[in-house]
Symmetry: C2
């Protein structure tokens, strides 16, 4: 998910503001409205186009890779091991999760999600995740920095980016424009009735 001006998250991430000055409820409003949104606690929700994308979130996924800043607001060596992510006791991943970080720490398990902390370049981390995925696909879950790194390393087969109709002005950038990728990827741009525009990339 990025803003119209290309930012995947805002400026100034903190414990209170996981997306910095950006409001994740605004960026993710299109997903939160759907029936298949993993964090939904009440019944109902839309079953239109956007729901196909939230429903696909777990389809044939055997592992997730995320960046350290998606996992939490701490930087540098781990001060303590109390922090176990933003997601409470029931994280929505339900597979092994590989957190790419220079600072290793012991793996731990919450419900059916195990978090591993892996140093190394994108190819090394992908190797570990693929092994764990046992033939299923590996989801690259963000944030924007790690997606950029994996794109630069040529390790991304398909990419779904939902562009929300709001501007952030600053933050962590995914791209200047979707056009940055069209030399290497096919691109379909699909506007949704909800106002978000889905960008679907796959390798040329």
């Amino acid at each position: 998910m990025v803003s119209e001006d290309g930012f995947g998250t805002g400026e100034g991430q903190s414990l209170e503001r996981p997306f910095g000055h950006a409001d994740p409820r605004e960026l993710a409003a299109w997903a939160g409205a759907t029936a298949s949104w993993p964090n939904r606690t009440d019944p109902g929700g839309t079953r239109g186009l956007d729901d196909y994308f939230t429903r696909d979130f777990s389809h044939n996924i055997g592992a997730e890779i995320m960046g350290r800043n998606k996992f939490g607001p701490q930087r540098g060596p781990w001060q303590d091991h109390e922090w176990r992510g933003w997601w409470g006791d029931e994280p929505p991943f339900h597979t092994p999760v590989f957190v790419m970080t220079h600072h290793e720490r012991p793996s731990f398990t919450l419900s059916d999600t195990t978090f591993h902390f892996v140093a190394g370049d994108p190819a090394t981390v992908l190797e570990r995740a693929k092994e764990a995925a046992q033939g299923k696909d590996v989801r690259l879950g963000g944030g924007p920095t790690i997606v950029r790194e994996f794109l630069e390393a040529g390790l991304v087969d398909t990419l779904h980016v939902a562009v929300s109709p709001l501007k952030l002005g600053s933050g962590v950038r995914l791209w200047n424009s979707p056009e940055d990728l069209v030399d290497r990827y096919h691109l379909e741009v699909v506007p949704s009735p909800s106002g978000v525009t889905h960008h679907l990339f796959w390798r040329r």
Copy 2:
């Protein structure tokens, strides 16, 4: 899948022409081009919008219901039990399939798909399929006649219809127009870059 003028299949179904005068390769061209098309034998295929729909074909599905005319070209009492569907030894369903027919015959299994033949009204057939689906969803696989019957009986929660940019002139009709359903269903109309237009309905 229906034609622009609302026909789900052509006129004059036969062993040689499962869709009558309609060409299924034309009606299904959008799906056949995708990476996740169940009948694909070569690698490759597109990973854009249409692929989300073919990928969703099996998502959380525990059983399929189909009409007798989707199963085969015979009418009336079964002449023989040699006919086992159009799909060869590896049908793409991978779940129990319930064929709604006035003329029962013994169940049989091909690979991981078991076909059952069930007489009764739509609610009765759905009851049987739900039992077999063990908490997963039941797919109503068509053809157009059985979809109309289940819609009239109020048994359809969501409906995906891909409208292809071709006219058939005659055949078996799904609807006069998508507008037929908007008193009872939300509707999103999503044009795909491939030329097909996805119609997504869910209950009001």
